[in-house]
Structures are given as structure tokens and as C-alpha cells.
């Protein structure tokens, strides 16, 4: 028994040492990036492809601004919409001009096979279980604006706080249709069928990136360059983002 305890202790010790070594090796300047949750996958790939170390903190754009205002140490901030970037600028946590680096469109998704026979933002939604984002959150505000342009009154069975919750209700088959971003639809792959909405191009969602005041300006600008360069833009397109 004692033998095992000692061996376990040795393994633990070794792991701690390796961990400590890894940490100190990573202490070379690498950017700390606060980015909207919808950027999780492309940004992770971006760092991997460029073989650079990046410390990411992904979350809701608004919450990230709250953290920055609260003094969280970051070099770069990437927002999933214009309003939140405006707020960050107003709060004085940014350094330099924000750069628009991607766009995203709302699309209609249905579970694979489209069991309710949805054809678009039209009468086919009557009696169907539609899930959208609540108007209080950015994707919901975009949904409301889109519905107005199309001239349809949406009657959702649920208004979610996050676009991922909308997608979850559709992929699980619980809902017949949902309004999500093209990137969410692309991420869900074959679990959903995507119907494009022509009017959607009038309500493009813009992604902005900026250096954070008090952060490391060099690592910030090199990361922003990575995102806006051709390779970065191609990668974003692969994930369903539109061009800046």
C-alpha cells in the first residue's frame, strides 16, 4: 500500500515540475486575447497554424468589456458586434482604432431532414416551433431587425439568451427551426439544414478587433495582423464568416 502511495507522490511531483517548467517556458511575450465566444474555433486554429502561443479568454462580448473595465490584463479585444466595441471605446479600455475583420449573417436552420418542411421566413413557420434569440441580446436585436425588413411577425416558442442555446434546441430536434448565425450553422455541420435569407445581407453583424490600453502593444499588433492577413481571412471564411 505504502509503495503505491510513494509512487503516486513521485508521479505528482514529476507532473508538478513539468508543469512549472512548461509555464516558465511560456513566459516569452505572447498576446492575451479576449474574444467573443463565436470566435473560439477559428482563433484557436489561427494560433495553431501560425505556431504562436496565445492566451485566449472567450466569452460574451459584453462580459469581456466588463472584465476589461474591471482591470483584467489583456492585449487584444475582439468583439462580435459594433455596439459592444463602441462601448469598449467609450469606457476607455482600448488603444488605437478598432479594425473590422469579419462579418456574419443570420440564417434559418432546421434539424437534419427539415421535418416541419420549413422553406424560409414565410408562412411555412405558421404552427412550427421556432426558437430565436431574445431581443435583449445582440443576435436577438439582429433577428428583430431582420424580421421587420422581411415584414413578418415571428412567433417563437422560446427566446434564448445565447445563440448557442438556439442552435442546441434545433440540433436536438426540439425546435423545428431557429435563427442563428451562418458560423453557428457551419459549425453544426450535418446536424442542421441551412436556409439563407436574402434580406439578411442588410443586417450584417460586424466583428471588430482592437488593442487594449495598458497591454503589450507589439504582441497586440502582431496578433491583429495575423487575423487581418490573407491566411487569417481565409480561415475565418472556412468557419462561415463573411469578408470584412
Amino acid at each position: 500500500m505504502n509503495h503505491y502511495v510513494r509512487r503516486a507522490a513521485a508521479v505528482l511531483l514529476a507532473a508538478t515540475l513539468i508543469g512549472a517548467a512548461a509555464c516558465s517556458a511560456g513566459e516569452e511575450a505572447h498576446p492575451v486575447v479576449f474574444a467573443a465566444a463565436s470566435l473560439t474555433n477559428p482563433f484557436a486554429d489561427l494560433a495553431e497554424n501560425a505556431e504562436v502561443n496565445v492566451d485566449y479568454s472567450f466569452g460574451g462580448s459584453n462580459g469581456l468589456v466588463d472584465q476589461l473595465v474591471g482591470g483584467a490584463p489583456a492585449d487584444v479585444f475582439a468583439s462580435a458586434n459594433t455596439a459592444t466595441m463602441d462601448r469598449a471605446v467609450e469606457e476607455g479600455v482600448t488603444a488605437g482604432e478598432p479594425v473590422r475583420f469579419a462579418t456574419n449573417l443570420l440564417v434559418l436552420v432546421t434539424p437534419a431532414g427539415n421535418p416541419a418542411g420549413i422553406t424560409g421566413l414565410d408562412e411555412s413557420l405558421d404552427g412550427a416551433k421556432l426558437v430565436i434569440c431574445a431581443p435583449e441580446v445582440p443576435c436577438g436585436a439582429a433577428t428583430a431587425a431582420l424580421a421587420e425588413t422581411v415584414g413578418i411577425t415571428l412567433e417563437p416558442v422560446s427566446e434564448e439568451s445565447a445563440v448557442t442555446d438556439v442552435l442546441g434546441k434545433v440540433t436536438s430536434g426540439e425546435a423545428d427551426a431557429g435563427l442563428v448565425y451562418a458560423t453557428d450553422a457551419a459549425g453544426a455541420g450535418e446536424d442542421v439544414e441551412t436556409l439563407e435569407i436574402p434580406e439578411s445581407s442588410q443586417h450584417v453583424n460586424e466583428y471588430w478587433i482592437v488593442a487594449v490600453k495598458g497591454g503589450d502593444a507589439d504582441s497586440a499588433s502582431s496578433f491583429i495582423e495575423l487575423v487581418t492577413a490573407a491566411a487569417g481571412q481565409e480561415l475565418l471564411a472556412d468557419f462561415g464568416f463573411g469578408p470584412a
Binding site: 460574451g60 459584453n62 416551433k129 426558437v131 431574445a134 435583449e136 441580446v137 417563437p156 416558442v157 422560446s158 427566446e159 434564448e160 439568451s161 442555446d165 442546441g168 434546441k169 436536438s172 430536434g173 426540439e174 425546435a175
Partner: protein, 256 residues
């Protein structure tokens, strides 16, 4: 009690109380009345209270017999059943939601058959109550089972010997004797149902007046209107305080 325990006592209490104090410090007291009578706040509070009352009632109807049966079990059966009953209590709420979704959802184990009959629970108030009962009923069952086990059963035996039927013994002797546990268990169930969030969000959705309970509204308004979110959070704290106070009152040992 050794004197040094006062230090961890003070630290522990501080750790638990300071976050609440921090929240109270940020509540916009001046605008509080206006915020709390807003239509969406009243609607969400009404829905929360309604669903919690129903969920507590359902928990009593199903949970009391469950606790009774469990208190009579011995050995491995008792351990297995108690473990099964406790699981929903300790599950992360979002896991509880996924479990309900895979069972009662449209494509779920049971839900697909219900769906064939035209019964769909998802996105309805019934789904909210289901989520609440699932996570909250164990509190009642565990509290009551403990009390029933502690009861020697002597009074029940005497009543039975005097000719009372088993049902009469249950209503007139067993349950009145475990009334403190029953009340505090029900209060805990109500409180847990009131705070239910993850399972509701995952399984029931969020629509004003139908499925958007107070915790879901707090979560949503936090995105946009921190003041309203804090005001609503205060309401939840107050309701929780009342429930805990009621529970504590009934749970006091009978003084002679």
C-alpha cells in the same frame, strides 16, 4: 469548543456573507420600486411562484410515499435507492436539463412516444415544473426519510394495536410526528425549485409568461440592464430568506 475555532468561524462566515453584502451594495435602491413593478418582472415572479408551488405539491404527492417506502428498506436496497434518489440533487443543473431533454424531449426515450400521441412537453410551463420537480424533490425525500428512520414506530404500533388502519396510522400518527422534517423538506424543495435555472434553460426554453422564470429573467437582463438584474436578484434573495426562515421555525426542537 477550542478558542482557535473562532478564526475559521469568522473567515467562513465572512466568505458566505460578503458576496451577498456586495450585491446589496450595488442594488439601485432608489429605482427599485419602479424596476420591480415592471411588467416583465411581475410576470416572471408570478410564473416562478406558480411553478414552484405546483412543483412542491407534486414533490409532496410523489415524495412522501417514496420516503415512506425508503424508510422501511434495509441493507443494499436502501443504499441503492437512496443513491438513485440523491443523484438529481447533486447533478450540475445543465446535466439535469440534458437528462430531461433526452428523456422527455421530442426525440427522447419517452418523449417520442408522447409526441406520437400529440403530447409535447418542451417549451411549455409543464416542462418548467418537470425540471423543478426533478432537481428539487430529492430534498424533500431525503429530509423526510431521515426523520421517518429516526422515528421508532412505537406510537404507530400502539395505534395499530388499538385498531387504526395503516392509512389512519399514516395520517394521524406517522406524518404528524415527522411534521418538522416534512415542512423543512418542503421549504427546501420550494427554495431549490425557485432557484432552478440550468435544467429549465436547457429543457424548457425561455419565453416571457410561459417558461421565463425569475432566474432566467435575471440571466437575460444581466446582458443589458444590470440594475434590473440586481433588483430581480434581490427579490430571489428575499423569497429565499422567507423560505429558510419558515423552515427554521418548524425545524426548531420542541421545547418542553
Amino acid at each position: 469548543m477550542p478558542r482557535w475555532t473562532w478564526l475559521p468561524f469568522a473567515l467562513g462566515l465572512t466568505f458566505l456573507v460578503v458576496p451577498l453584502a456586495g450585491m446589496l451594495a450595488r442594488v439601485p435602491w432608489a429605482e427599485l420600486p419602479a424596476l420591480l413593478v415592471s411588467h416583465e418582472a411581475v410576470e416572471a415572479l408570478g410564473l416562478s411562484l406558480l411553478t414552484c408551488v405546483v412543483a412542491t405539491a407534486v414533490s409532496l404527492v410523489l415524495g412522501v410515499p417514496l420516503a415512506l417506502a425508503m424508510s422501511r428498506m434495509t441493507g443494499r436496497t436502501a443504499v441503492v435507492v437512496r443513491t438513485l434518489v440523491t443523484i438529481p440533487m447533486v447533478l450540475p443543473p445543465v446535466v439535469a436539463g440534458l437528462a430531461l431533454l433526452s428523456t422527455l424531449g421530442r426525440r427522447g426515450l419517452v418523449g417520442q412516444h408522447l409526441s406520437a400521441w400529440g403530447i409535447e412537453i418542451g417549451f411549455t410551463t409543464v416542462a418548467v415544473v418537470c425540471a423543478q420537480v426533478f432537481v428539487a424533490m430529492p430534498f424533500l425525500v431525503i429530509a423526510l426519510e431521515g426523520a421517518l428512520r429516526a422515528d421508532s414506530g412505537d406510537y404507530g404500533t400502539v395505534a395499530a394495536n388499538l385498531g387504526a388502519s395503516p392509512t389512519r396510522v399514516l395520517w394521524r400518527v406517522t406524518l404528524p410526528m415527522s411534521m418538522p422534517a416534512l415542512v423543512s423538506g418542503a421549504a427546501l424543495t420550494f427554495a431549490r425549485a425557485l432557484g432552478e435555472f440550468g435544467a429549465t434553460l436547457t429543457f424548457a426554453g425561455s419565453l416571457a409568461g410561459t417558461t421565463r422564470t425569475l432566474p432566467l429573467l435575471v440571466y437575460l437582463t444581466r446582458e443589458q440592464d444590470t440594475d434590473l438584474a440586481l433588483a430581480l436578484a434581490l427579490v430571489l434573495v428575499l423569497v429565499a430568506l422567507v423560505v429558510v426562515a419558515v423552515s427554521a421555525r418548524f425545524n426548531r426542537p420542541v421545547s418542553t
